[in-house]
């Protein structure tokens, strides 16, 4: 999405929402990401400079927790709408 919006510089890593820099307490791993951000701001020579960092989250995406325990209002709204659609289809 960031590339589509087109920003001056961005570093990407496929980590779960809410833990973009790494795991709790993993300062070494967190610093790898922030070091890459710091390197990028110095090395980028023009707009739309993107780097994809070579790090992988240790859990598969479906096992990595990022959703809050309580659904956000939009999530609740979608759930209600899906339920209404299901009920309407069942009639």
């Amino acid at each position: 999405m960031t590339e589509k919006v087109a920003v001056s510089r961005a570093a990407f890593v496929q980590y779960p929402f809410g833990r973009q820099l790494g795991e709790v307490g993993d300062r070494e791993g967190q610093r790898k990401i922030t070091d890459a951000m710091a390197d990028l701001i110095e090395s980028a020579e023009g707009p739309n400079t993107y780097v994809h960092l070579p790090y992988e989250w240790p859990e598969p995406p479906d096992k990595a927790k990022w959703r809050p325990d309580i659904l956000a209002p939009m999530g609740l709204k979608r759930m209600r709408e899906a339920e209404e659609t299901r009920k309407a289809a069942a009639k």
């Binding site: 779960p16 809410g18 922030t34 710091a38 110095e42 809050p68 956000a72 209002p73």
Partner: protein, 166 residues
Amino acid sequence: MPITKVDSNYFHDQRERLAQQRPNDPAQTPWTPLPKPLSECNVTLVSTAGIFLKGDESFDYDRERAEPTWGDPTHREIPRTAGQDDVEYSHLHIDTSFLAKDRNVAWPVDIFGDYEKEGKIGRLADTLYSIMGYIPNFNPLIKRTAPLMIESMKAQGVDAAFIIPV
């Protein structure tokens, strides 16, 4: 291991939503070169985690609950001296419990404090910034909030801002 596949598993309909959006013209991307070596720069941080100082005004979640397609487009300023537990991590759409345990998972204040001590950055600015990243209508963010943040940063002599989205 390099990751080559961009998956949408973290947000089930992200790919479809993205496909519907009109891309910006990369030729129009703004560009401001770093004015001096990072080791001489006054650096600030911007989070989208809905962080605010305890006692400060919360992001407006009452309205979001009443209007789920609306999100608070304002920002909060956080003194760099605020500690791990001096702020709320309030974004409703992500699990903020990890941030509450160790802010450096997405709000690297301690890491940038270390950078300052190590001379990797000139200094960490006195004020850091947060928005709450669920903003379906982002026009107020662009037209009002971003200029306010930029004005504040300029008043503090900030040379560079690192944005850490959640």
